[in-house]
């Protein structure tokens, strides 16, 4: 396929509609990133207000998912896009769905954080540091890849997802060991394991977004390769 940039669409309404759809995805991603940061702050600062903020703001993200679907259908029905325009619309709708699931994981983390905040602080929380760092980076990079139409960055994310899976497993194994040594804090360790799993799933959604970016930019389907 060619890689040269192309000219704007002859129909300015079409360009406007595509820009609007793209803008909605980026707005949704920005709100989701904020919610995710609120959940993590609520966890480490032991502040329920951050957690509540994240949970409350999820509704706006749900509405944005619906809006993106509506805008995508509108573009398809009005302009019948083909080639890269069609790929962009399809990918935007799929990316919207993945972002919504990331936002759901932010809510799950916030709920688990509120439960942890009911008990004394445990230093084992820092076992999640690497998982948190990588999952947030992956989500940010997935959205950056979409914003910049950067397929190379998107391809990298697939490899990083495997690292995240390993970090999640290491953290989970370590927390299971602590559960055996310290059964008093078993519910807290369980909540941490669930949080780690939420973060690992955020990585999965970031990888899904990356796959959709590669499809939109290069017309290549990189799903389920190497399995």
């Amino acid at each position: 396929m060619h890689t040269e940039p192309s000219r704007p669409h002859t129909l300015t309404d079409f360009t406007t509609a595509l820009d609007q759809l793209r803008g909605s995805v980026l707005t949704m991603a920005s709100l989701t990133k904020k919610n995710l940061q609120n959940s993590i702050q609520g966890l480490f600062l032991r502040d329920d207000d951050f957690c509540n903020h994240s949970i409350a703001d999820d509704e706006e993200i749900d509405l944005l998912e619906i809006q993106i679907d509506r805008e995508g259908i509108d573009v398809m029905s009005r302009f019948q896009p083909v080639a890269k325009d069609l790929r962009e619309v399809i990918s935007s709708i799929k990316i919207g769905a993945n972002i919504e699931r990331v936002a759901d994981q932010a809510v799950n983390i916030a709920r688990r954080a509120r439960k942890l905040n009911e008990h004394p602080e445990l230093h084992e929380l820092h076992l999640l540091d690497q998982v948190i760092k990588l999952s947030l980076e992956m989500f940010e990079d997935a959205i950056r890849a979409f914003a910049e139409r950067n397929a190379s960055l998107a391809v990298e994310l697939k490899a990083r997802d495997k690292i995240l899976d390993r970090l999640n497993k290491e953290a989970t194994d370590e927390l299971i060991n602590r559960m055996q040594d310290d059964s008093r804090n078993l519910p807290a360790f369980l909540n941490m394991i669930f949080i780690s799993r939420c973060l690992e799933r955020i990585g999965d959604h970031a990888a899904n977004i990356a796959e959709d970016v590669v499809f939109a930019v290069r017309a290549e389907d990189i799903r389920h390769l190497g399995k």
């Binding site: 396929m1 060619h2 040269e4 192309s6 000219r7 704007p8 669409h9 002859t10 129909l11 079409f14 302009f79 019948q80 896009p81 083909v82 080639a83 890269k84 325009d85 069609l86 790929r87 017309a219």
Partner: protein
């Protein structure tokens, strides 16, 4: 190499006065995907002006191939060369060759009338003759010398059925064709085009004057007819090309820019020019 267009050995579907019979969709000829029409470094000139610049193209049989491109790109000019219709225009000439089944259509031994009997054509504007529906269908057979009434009756029914028009007109076959709706007239023209059992059907924007329902009926007909005919359709409607054709050729300024499977052209074209045209970023 044989230049005899009426030789039954050279061509699986023979058209002659003796054997002409109405086409049946149930006539299953083994589906051939081999290249059938070959355009070889073809250049075409209106006077001194070259309008097709060295086109190379191989069109397989019994598939629908769309020619797309902006006005003036040469797609209709190339289409009209397949049955040598352009020769009706004074001052035209060509270089290169077009072969069908390996035989040049420009070979001196080829009779243009026989060639056109093998290559039916449907135009942008339906052009029924000012005679009855029945008379339109049998016209090509009558001028070919066929007079057997029962055979003509059978031809009319089968061609109209093939064109999905029989049920709508069977009770008024002897009424004027000019009383039909636009969509019916176009399907009548398709029925007439297949009456002489051509191998190839050329369609030059066949739906551009039709409403969406009539367009859908013609498109359905095209998909049905490809089982027995090699169809080449010129269209400005991108979505029509993507719906009905398996192969698409994109022309621009007399050049063939890209020729590939339709699915590839409309999802991931190889050339920037193609993408800009089909996505509406052209001009």
């Amino acid at each position: 190499m044989s230049n005899d267009y009426t030789s039954s050995e050279a061509h699986p579907i023979q058209v002659s006065h003796e054997t002409a019979r109405p086409y049946e969709l149930t006539d299953v000829v083994s589906p051939s995907k081999t290249n059938f029409i070959k355009v070889d470094d073809f250049r075409f000139f209106y006077g001194k002006k070259e309008v097709l610049h060295g086109i190379n193209l191989e069109i397989p049989s019994r598939r629908v191939t769309s020619f797309i491109g902006p006005s003036g790109c040469g797609k209709s000019t190339l289409l009209r060369n397949f049955n040598r219709m352009n020769e009706l225009i004074p001052g035209v000439r060509h270089e290169g060759d077009i072969t069908i089944h390996g035989t040049s259509i420009f070979d001196p031994s080829v009779e243009v009338i026989a060639l056109r009997r093998r290559i039916g054509m449907v135009f942008q504007k339906s052009n029924p003759f000012p005679m009855s529906i029945y008379g339109n269908i049998v016209y090509p057979l009558r001028i070919a010398g066929q007079g057997d009434r029962s055979m003509l009756d059978e031809t009319v029914e089968r061609c109209l059925r093939s064109a999905a028009l029989w049920d709508e007109v069977k009770d008024r076959l002897h009424e004027s064709a000019l009383g039909l709706s636009g969509g019916q007239m176009q399907r009548l023209c398709i029925a007439r085009a297949i009456a002489s059992r051509p191998e190839i059907l050329l369609m030059d924007e066949p739906c551009s004057a039709l409403d969406p329902i009539a367009t859908a009926k013609v498109e359905e007909l095209i998909i049905e007819l490809k089982r027995n005919f090699t169809i080449i359709i010129v269209t400005h409607n991108m979505h029509q090309a993507s719906r009905v054709s398996e192969l698409t050729a994109f022309f621009y300024l007399g050049n063939l820019v890209e020729f590939d499977e339709t699915r590839k052209i409309f999802t991931n074209p190889s050339k920037l020019q193609t993408e800009e045209y089909i996505t509406g970023r052209f001009g």
